[in-house]
Symmetry: C2
Subunit: 211 residues, 2 copies
């Protein structure tokens, strides 16, 4: 309705500004605690030398995520929404005024922890990335078709805990495939498992980012 249309007008301005500055922008959407900040911490630490990152961290309250990420990146802005259940294009517009976009290759917008509302709000991003974790249960893709449809990339994290939880990986993959055959699904973890030499399992994500 009216709110959405106004949002989309501002999103279009953001999108133009991002294109002008040559910044690839990701809207990262996932449930509370699915591991968004943890993946970003590892990404900034490991790829911070080959790509220049900026981050917008969205939360109702606290600056905990912004502080965690600021340890590894000097272009971080924390947005607090109060009781707003999703970031909107105007909040993003205000926040990027505090960044030097020309100096960035990639801007990651960590949306408020919420699998639903952020899907409907364009922020001006190039792609939406949807994130799930094995501890949430294997039915979450089926339960959130809107996000699976809208995402170019889907991440399934905390794969290190697979042996400790009831999670039917075949069923989850099938749900994703039938909802969005075009989406890429990457199974990752920031924590170690014996069969991962690197200590974590983030290379598929790093490869996708760099391409």
């Amino acid at each position: 309705e009216n709110v959405l249309r106004l949002n989309d007008e501002i999103a279009a301005l953001n999108r133009a500004q991002f294109r002008q500055a040559g910044v690839f922008v990701i809207d990262l959407i996932g449930a509370p605690g699915c591991g968004k900040t943890s993946v970003l911490e590892a990404t900034l630490r490991r790829l911070g030398n080959c790509l220049k990152f900026g981050v917008l961290a969205g939360d109702l309250a606290t600056s905990r995520d912004g502080e965690r990420l600021a340890r590894w990146c000097d272009q971080v802005v924390q947005i607090n929404t109060g009781n707003g259940c999703h970031l909107d294009a105007n909040q993003v517009r205000q926040a990027i005024g505090r960044l030097r976009l020309e100096d960035l290759d990639v801007l990651v917008i960590e949306n408020v922890g919420n699998l639903i509302c952020p899907v409907s709000f364009d922020l001006g991003q190039a792609v939406k990335v949807g994130m799930f974790s094995v501890t949430e249960g294997d039915d979450k893709a089926a339960k959130h078709p809107g996000l699976v449809h809208a995402a170019a990339l889907l991440l399934l994290s905390k794969m290190d805990l697979l042996a400790h939880v009831k999670f039917d990986l075949v069923r989850f993959r099938q749900d994703v495939q039938s909802l969005n055959p075009g989406a890429t699904l990457l199974e990752i973890s920031v924590a170690p498992r014996e069969d991962w030499p690197q200590g974590d399992h983030l290379d598929p994500w790093f490869t996708w980012l760099k391409t």
Copy 2:
């Protein structure tokens, strides 16, 4: 605004109907996959003989939760919201028309998986119960002050996994205490741990329910 005011009028009608029928109604709010349905499954199975339960299961899509709960309870209604991020009083009003309220002691409304939007929508319940799980990380109470304020009872589930995750229990308890000194916090699990003779850790929750 207008939507909220209309919702509250219908919520008041629901509340009167619940009181009339002598049903204790809980609005259960928690993130996707925090374990709401699992706790309800165990509750229906273990207390179904001493208390008469009804359940409303709210999800964007699928009837998976409703089907899981219908195995243990014959008064279950599944509500699908489409892309609605919270149950509203009108959806509850429609759903209870399909229940025999007079035959119930307790009605549990499992809200859509979302820690934010359901907080603002009165459904006519007696109490809101907020639920977190250790796999989400220990900052979730601090990040969702609205829910912690509004809840009479807070549940922290998946306590069986505490040894496998980074979770500062002292810090989490402190956050809850400072946000809402009046709230009760119960630490529970539906899965076994060696030091729990019963095979799970739900007795604090069962005791609270029965009182």
